[in-house]
């Protein structure tokens, strides 16, 4: 396999402790366990996101302030999480997973119904949140924690156990019904298994099995979910109803052209033809007002974050760290891909926000918590190796 040669060439990685054994003087960033590159890129992304958000909310400074506050809270959360040692995550993974599972069941039994789906758990007057959001981190952590104890590549039995760990929360989320989140939970956890070295033969087998399951999935889908898929295949079949979103978003992006119509000048966005313009479809605002150039800048920003993240992940010193870090960063990319694909009309409409740009608190907190874990894994590598 040629991959072995490539892998061998990667061995001279800075992760390795210096031969001399003389401890290097630690920078301020290292001491506070924050990766300056990643933080910088995230801040640029969030800043740009706020600029677009201002336009997308019809120039509401209130929305920008609210979003900034959420970003602030989420950044603080990220910083705190970054201080924890990776072993803490390893230790608490089963607990977090267990709590998450319990809450998902609670939602099923006593959840609040919002938008026709049970997604929210509420302690009245105190807090109201989606347990499925927590599972986005808890599930991959749990899988990684399990695989950390196995010999890798994982054997069939381990994979079966992983499948159970993944399957239960995914199914519970899917029946809420929240197909988008359940797919994201599943992909976050499956990525862990893939990174752990799932055999290619098994991957092929699962792919075939997955394809065979499509009809079953179709039969069990809710009508509105089926409608979304049908609309995706032919948006013009119902231009006023479910096709409206995708027609208007592609129109917004397409009409932006190379340079865009200018900030606050997008007619699709400003005249409210674009649905959910400040949440799931916010990238269409960017596409219309800043054109292809703006879109590519954003995409590059995401790719830089992902590159930095993957770099950090591959430098992790133990299996658990690597798997968790890899999963977090690749899931981040999946968010980006699914959202951009949906808005530009190459994927069906699933409710996935554009990470750190769409208006909304929960997903920012989860994402930055994930980056916190990533930073923790990166920052604690020397401590562990010593």
């Amino acid at each position: 396999m040629p991959w072995h040669y490539i892998a061998r060439s990667m061995r001279r990685h800075p992760v390795r402790p210096p031969e001399s054994g003389i401890p290097r003087r630690k920078s301020i960033w290292e001491r506070i366990h924050i990766d300056p590159w990643l933080l910088g890129l995230l801040l640029v992304l969030m800043g740009g996101g706020l600029v677009v958000l201002y336009s997308a909310t019809g120039q509401s400074i209130d929305a920008v302030i609210a979003q900034s506050l959420r970003f602030g809270i989420a950044l603080v959360g990220m910083a705190i999480i970054a201080q924890l040692s990776p072993s803490t995550f390893l230790r608490f993974a089963p607990l977090a997973y267990g709590i998450g599972l319990a809450m998902l069941i609670a939602v099923e039994v006593a959840g609040d119904i919002g938008m026709g789906a049970k997604r929210w758990l509420e302690i009245p007057g105190v807090i109201r949140f989606q347990p499925s959001e927590m599972m986005k981190l808890a599930a991959p952590l749990m899988v990684a924690a399990y695989l950390n104890r196995c010999e890798l590549p994982p054997r069939l039995r381990d994979i079966a156990i992983c499948a159970v760990i993944i399957g239960v929360p995914v199914v519970l989320t899917a029946i809420q019904p929240d197909l988008g989140t359940s797919l994201l939970v599943a992909s976050a956890a499956v990525i862990v298994v893939l990174l752990a070295g799932l055999s290619w033969r098994l991957i092929g087998f699962m792919a075939v099995l997955g394809a065979a399951c499509v009809p079953i999935l179709w039969i069990n889908m809710h009508n509105y979910q089926r409608q979304r898929v049908l609309t995706f295949l032919n948006p013009d079949s119902d231009p006023l109803g479910s096709g409206w979103n995708i027609i208007q978003s592609t129109t917004a992006i397409g009409s932006g052209g190379l340079w865009g119509k200018g900030w606050l000048q997008g007619t699709q966005s400003q005249l409210e033809f674009l649905p959910e313009r400040h949440t799931d479809f916010i990238i269409a605002v960017l596409g219309e007002e800043f054109g292809l150039v703006g879109m590519l800048v954003l995409l590059c920003l995401y790719l830089l974050i992902i590159s930095r993240g993957l770099w950090m992940a591959s430098g992790a010193q133990d299996t658990f760290g690597r798997l968790v870090a890899g999963s977090i960063i690749l899931t981040f990319f999946i968010y980006v891909f699914v959202n951009m694909g949906m808005v530009s009309g190459i994927l069906p409409v699933v409710g996935v926000p554009l990470p750190l740009v769409s208006f909304g608190g929960t997903s920012s907190v989860t994402l930055l918590a994930g980056f916190g874990i990533l930073m923790s894994i990166h920052a604690h590598r020397r401590l562990l190796s010593r």
Binding site: G287, L292, R322, I346
Partner: protein, 635 residues
Amino acid sequence: MPKRPNTLKNSEQELRIFRVRALLAVLVVLTLASLIMGRLVYLQIVQHDMYSTRSENNRVRVEPLPPNRGLIYDRNGVLLAENRPTYNLTLVRERVDELDETLALLVELLELPEEEIEAFNVRSRQRQRPYQPALLISDLSEEQIARLAVNRHRLPGVEIEAQPLRYYPDADIMAHALGYVGRINAEEMKTLDAGRYAGTHFIGKTGIERFYEQELHGQAGLRKVETNARGRVLRELGRTDPVPGENITLTLDKSLQMLAYELLDGRRGSIVAIAPATGEILAMASAPGFDSNQFVTGIDVASYRGLQEDLDLPLFNRAIRGHYPPGSTIKPFLALAGLVEGVITPDSTINDPGYYQLPNDSRRYRNWLRWGHGRVDMERSLAVSNNTYYYTLAHDLGIDNLHKQMSNFGFGQRVAHDVQGESGALMPSRDWKRGRFNQPWYPGETLSVGIGQGYWQVTPLQLASATATLANRGHWVKPRLARQIGDTPVPRDLPDTLNDIELANDSWWDRVFNGMEKVMSGTEGTARRTGVGLEYRMGGKSGTAQVFSLGQDQRYNADEIAERLRDHALFIAFAPLDDPQIAVSVIVENAGGGSTHAAHLARAMTDAWLLKDDAPDAEEVREVLERDDANVEGN
């Protein structure tokens, strides 16, 4: 649980696996990212123009500005067709929280039957884009508007919208002459100029409304507006004003028209009056009439069927489409034909034994007076409406000359300039009979034509028009309904007017006029009762058209024949004799003899026109008619 693995050895292998997988992940990420990029390039560069247009179409809406339809006035400036503001009920689905509840509430408030809910539901879906109002009910009553206004807070998304609608203040009496507008149907839509009719929902269907559709309609304008997704207009980007339709002033006189309609008194019939010198149609009534306003908003099926199945055919415009045998009313024209062709002179006489026989034929063609009128000249033949004189004249003329001369008076063809749907009726000829029945013309048929029976059929408009031409001493002026379109008067001389009728001696016109005056004022005149107390000189001619043909020697008894088989009463008249101001034709279906049942109506018309306020009204005429309904035999 797997046992704790040898960390050192395994971590080497695990790291290698991870790195391979991570590298693969990078490739997948790059592939998918390029896919997105490709899609973006496709949308924003390749398809940019298409999406630009689409977004522009989203934003910019072209709203048609329909022109105001021209108004229609009578000759004195009385409004006959106007545009009435009406109110429609519309609904914007997106603004309605609970559609079913709202519709149920509407039906309850307006006291409509429950089934309407379903109809509303269907109608509320008929639109092209979100936030476009859908039309639920057109032409709300004032009470309905008030009820909706009071409950406005309970009906979000429901709105009342103004729209001008055609309205005919005197619908019944004017329905046939004016015609009406109705909703443009699918058939008409195909042939219409879409730009000109943008935003117009109505089009002239009959009468003046149809004939002058072009002039009345005008040209639609448009405005470009920027709207948001909810359809709210944010600003106007450009505008072309509509060109309003032209107002039309008709030659009709509303009070004369109303009199004509009242004189007919709900009977089936028609009265047409023309000003001879100008060809202006002063009145053109067809009874019974109908309420043309019903057709504007769309008549309901039951009412329409009612009108359609009414035996009196209220929708049928008798004045221009009714075919009637003219009876004796054509005798003056026949006399003129004889003078033109040189078959008679005003002084030619015949001896009337009470019948006429063709050479070598035993059949007797009867005069209405069994024992005959004795010696009869042209003037007397008109006064007493002698049949034998005209049998002789018709036979001497022959059908060919007769057809030619009668065609010169406009019989058998459309005569008017701007009367929509006018019929040419029928002036029989050899060729016609050959074509129609594949039979030769028989001499006996010429005799029938000679007294206005047989195949000959005329419309009341033709009869009035021929009378006007006669009163005009043979000078043709095309009858017309429009006097002025916008600021342009309709010229007196119009193209395709028939040639004037010329007599060898101009004084012969006076001889024919005298004959017609004797009908009204002569001691033997068939309409002498009607002529009593005339304040001006009036010429007339009665006619009685057989609907039901009798055997050769049968006697006619009106009482024994069902009402609808009774004779039609006809009368033509013009006055004053020396300077004719008005020519009239009257037809009352199944009324009996023309001299008794139609002559009064004709005089009432001339009185009204010439004496103005001093003329008796319809009520007084009716009283005279009833008092006078004594049995005068014959025509």
